[in-house]
Amino acid sequence: MGIENLFLGFQIAITPYNLFVAVIGIALGTIIGVLPGLGGANGVAILLPLTFTMPPTSAIILLTSLYWGALFGGAITSILFNIPGEPWSVATTFDGYPLARQGQGGQALTAAFTSSFVGALFSIVLITFFAPLLAEIALKFGPPEFFAIQLLTFSSFVGLGGGNPLKSLVSILLGFILSAVGLDIVTGQLRMTFGFVDLMKGFDFIVAVIGLFGIGEILISVEEGLSFRGVRTGMNLRVVLDTWRILPRYARTFVRGAFIGFWMGFKPGGATPASFMSYAFAKRFSRNPERFGRGELEGVVAPETAAHAAGVAAMLPMITLGIPGSPTAAVMLGGLIIWGLQPGPLLFKEKPEFVWGLIASMYTGNIIGVLMVLAFVPLFAAILRIPFAILTPVIVVVCAIGSYAVHNNMIDIWYMVIFGVVGYVFKKLDYPLAPLVLALVLGDLAENALRQSLIMSQGSLAIFIARPISGVITAVAILFFALPVLTPWWRRLRGVPAVRRATREI
């Protein structure tokens, strides 16, 4: 079934309108990725209200293209300005910026974009083959299995997210609580509204994303004192071709990075650890590890391949299970619901043109994306030369417009400001924001899955253990939840595992 479906998808993705949409999405996405303070999740959230009137397939192509653009754009800021536009670009700055300072910015950028493209392509090919299989398996899932997968999603934030596991947990719980505010569609009762009419509609995740990631990020970046001292791009066709001639030398790094990226990426929060891990492995297996951190091209290839592979892999659980692997995928999932599509495995059966159009557009989007960023890097880098006093009000106004457009309601702009302050405080105190957003998006779905499971079992929690598939998933989830407690013991018994030690050496 695979090939002809993909062919069907390409017929949809290659229509002039959808190609045009992809170009617009990538251009906007790259701009958003270049600007610190605006990220993929935030950009997708601001644009989401504009897609309400579009056909769903074109809408998802616009949003995913924006996401690819943001992934490419992050590398530009990291390499030329030493400012990671996104958390997963941090490892790219280690060698990218030194290279740029040595006048080899063009080389570093070409390597970064090419690696991103290779990583993405690897993940897309795997998605093309695995997504239908996974969806087929997921069709047999009932509410207990879905709840177990949700549990697994959130447990991996707690167990594998790094940082304080309790703060990840608080972030998750807060997201779920916020999602429960308003009308309970099952019983028709109002929850936690305390008589305020405005609270009846609840909190929209789009507004939360714009506030937390947009306004919060601006507050953080002005505090750190923004000073853009960029290095010239030094990009031309000759540099691109010369770099392409060198890159095959790093074939092993590409393969390793792509595997790490895909493996880490389809679990939530994977892109950032994947990029660090890939960098650490590249350094470990390199013949000259002492050159890492001083401008080694391989040090750009490794994290970029993994980060982009992970970013694409985050789409796999989103389209097959209806469970997003990243905040950006979470916003897209919210979009699916708004466009009237039921996310989950049934999508493959009911809306094949949507799913396969989306998968095919991942190929076209990334090809267009890599060509566009290679061609227009100086243009995108010039955005950062716009004075800060102009960028800030523009970003704030665009965020306000995005928030208001969701429900045409003034209160949402206020929520945006409040979420902005919350985002600033949380970020400073190391509460992770991604789990909060995921919980806010998945809240209703998770609660319904839990309720239906409990109804099936007459209120016994044993149902999650008793069924074979959900039993295994629940067991893994419990293991992840327990990981922060188990790891110190394990370390003491066995010494520190190799991978973690390697990551720490950076």
């Binding site: 309970d184 929850r191 601006i218 505090e223 004075p387 006093a389 009000p393 457009a405 405080v425 409990l454």
Partner: protein
């Protein structure tokens, strides 16, 4: 850092308490057709309170002397935050586009010390561009005020 961590944890605990209060009102048990409305929020809030209690203890025991935000940092942050709040307040009366123009102009002149010409150019062109993109192209209506009414929009 320590005080801020403690205040945040306490605030979240109070929030958890409020949720528990409402969840108990809604019923946290089992009704004829499944769990009652308060069941899910109740357990979320109980976990939240427990987790925040531990975080609070951690914040107190791990002496972190760094200030949450220094005086030098607070200035720029407030300079972004207050104008943004002002933007939202005036949007309610004079509409988004005029507010955006005023906000951009004030910010550029006050923080950026740009020339009046640059201020005027950006403050006029930027809201105009957003007007055409959102209002005309994507048909997303924004809050409007007396100026738009006077212009017949």
């Amino acid at each position: 850092m320590r005080a801020a961590g403690l205040v945040t944890a306490s605030f979240l605990m109070v929030l958890g308490g409020v949720v528990v209060f409402d969840a108990v009102r809604l019923g946290i048990g089992w009704s004829t057709d499944g769990p009652k409305s308060g069941f899910f929020p109740f357990w979320l809030a109980v976990l939240l309170i427990a987790a925040c209690a531990v975080i609070g203890v951690q914040a107190v025991s791990r002496a972190d002397a760094r200030p949450f935000v220094g005086r030098a940092q607070l200035g720029p942050v407030l300079k972004v935050l207050w104008p943004a709040v002002a933007l939202v307040v005036i949007t309610q009366w004079i509409g988004l586009y005029v507010s955006a123009a005023l906000y951009t102009a004030v910010y550029m002149r006050w923080i950026g010390r740009h020339s009046w010409l640059a201020v005027l150019a950006v403050a006029v062109l930027f809201p105009l561009a957003t007007f055409f993109i959102f209002e005309k192209w994507f048909l997303v209506p924004m809050p409007k005020g007396p100026l738009e009414a006077w212009l017949g929009q």
